[in-house]
Every structure is written in structure tokens, then in C-alpha cells.
Amino acid sequence: MEKSASLPLTQAYPTNEGPCGHNSSPAGLTAGRLGIWALIASEIVLFAGLFGSFILMRMINPQWAEEVSHLNLKAGTLNSLVLLISNFFMMKASSSVTAGKANDVKKYLFLTMVMGVLFLCVKAFEYTAEFAHGEYPTSGGFWAFYFLMTGIHATHIIGGLVAMGLLWVRAVKGTLGPMQGRVALTGIYWSFVEVVWIFLFPMLYLLA
């Protein structure tokens, strides 16, 4: 197998996350790392509010079990696996940055994006089937929650894909070096998007 080329600036910028990548807080955290965790904390507030509302509404609406039976469990399971694989590739991309393997960074970022797009395609397939059965966000409480939560999650997937796309373009051009730390930060964000799905999937598809 051909040995991967080293990232040209790996040694020169060991922890660089871009213009704000220096250690800038008293805790010794980079601004990027502090920022991504603060973003995730705010996202937890958003999703926890939605999840909490959904669980309590589900408890007082046992008839929603009938609506759940209209969801496509196979598609939901497939999407869970797709997102797990995608996150695994993202971790490989992040490890490749640490190892200075530029070709692997490109490859794994691309594979992560492919799996992310596949997730969106499966979701689009599910939405299409639900619309065909006359289920819309206005069809009732369950469907309003379903489309809202999965829609917001899909929006986060798209945001992650855009971030990864920008990094991938830089990796292809060979200009990732000064911003290579952002691959790890994007990996943290992408893992959080997976955590959201880890709870969203059982809540919507698996609750009895």
C-alpha cells in the first residue's frame, strides 16, 4: 500500500485551529476547543428541551403508540448504523491529522461526508413515504414533534457537512496545515450530532 504523504505543516502547527488556535484561556484551552464545548452545551439545552417535552407529552398521549407504528424502523436502524460508521470515519480523519497522514485525512473526511449524505437520503426517503401516507407536521402532536426534532437534527447534519466540506477542500488543495486542528473540533461536533441521534432514534422508533 502506498504510504500516506505527511501534512506539510503538522510539525510547525501542532495544535493549530486557525487564527484563534493559540492557548487563549486561563484554563489552557484553545479558543476553538472552548468554543465547540460551549456550542455543544447550548445545543444540549435545545435538544434536552425538545426531548423532555416529547417524553412528557408521550406519557400523557398513549395513543401516540399507533402513530409510532407508521414509522419505518428499518430505515431508522439503517440511519443509526450509517451515522455510527460516519462518526468512525471522522475519528479516523482526526487520528490521521495527529499522525500527519494527509492522504488519509482527505479520504476519511470524504467518506464521512458520503455517509452523512447517505443519512440525509434515507431521511428524505422516510419523509417522502410519510408524506405519501398523508402524515405532515400538521397531522397531530406526534408528527409535529417528529418532523421538528428530525428536521433540526438533519439541519445539524447539513451544518456538519458544510464544515467538513470546507476542511476537505483545504485538504485537497494542501492548505489544511494551518487549520488542521479544526478537523478534531469538527469531529467533536459530529460526535455530538451522533449522540443526539442515539437518543432521538429510541425515543421516536423504539419506545413501547
Binding site: W37, I44, I60, F88, A99, V195, I198, L206, L207
Partner: protein, 100 residues
């Protein structure tokens, strides 16, 4: 941790996550009582989320500041749930009967 160890670790975590995801789906086919089914499914999801947070997101090697940043939204979530309870009880006496 060197990169080879890291990659092996990620592979092992990935395998465990896939097994847990499939087992969560499998639980629903066991036709357990409602409460047992839901608790089991959420227990599996919590373990999966913990693995991702601590292993993939590397929370285990973060400092105290990050832990405090992460604790605050969970406290807010707890307060939110408590605030919801009177409303839920107002709409459903059956909801109360499940606990008393």
C-alpha cells in the same frame, strides 16, 4: 496516546456501539412490559452516549472547566422537567396514578 492505539481504540468503541445499537432494536422484539422495554432502551442509549462523549469526544481528558460547561445544561434540563410536571399532571390524572 499514540495514533495506532487511538485508531485501535476507536475501532473497538465502534464495534461496541454497533452491537449496542442493534441490541436496542432487538430489545423491542422481546415484547417486554412497557416500563421495562423503555428503561432498557434508554439504558442502552445512555451507555452509547457515554461512550461517544468520553471516548470519541475525548471528554475524559478535558479539564474541569469543560465538565462545568457540560453540567450546566443538564441542571437546566432537570429544572425544566420539574417545571413540566404540574402541567402534565393537570392534563392527566392517569399520569399521577403511574407513580402513586
Amino acid at each position: 496516546m499514540n495514533s495506532n492505539t487511538s485508531v485501535n481504540n476507536h475501532s473497538a468503541i465502534f464495534s461496541v456501539l454497533v452491537l449496542l445499537a442493534l441490541s436496542a432494536v432487538g430489545i423491542t422484539f422481546l415484547h417486554l412490559p412497557v416500563v421495562s422495554n423503555n428503561l432498557a432502551v434508554f439504558a442502552v442509549a445512555t451507555v452509547m452516549a457515554g461512550l461517544v462523549f468520553f471516548q470519541y469526544m475525548d471528554l475524559k481528558s478535558e479539564g474541569k472547566l469543560i465538565y462545568w460547561i457540560m453540567i450546566i445544561p443538564f441542571v437546566l434540563f432537570g429544572i425544566l422537567l420539574v417545571l413540566f410536571i404540574p402541567d402534565v399532571c393537570h392534563y392527566s390524572i392517569d399520569f399521577l396514578k403511574r407513580f402513586f
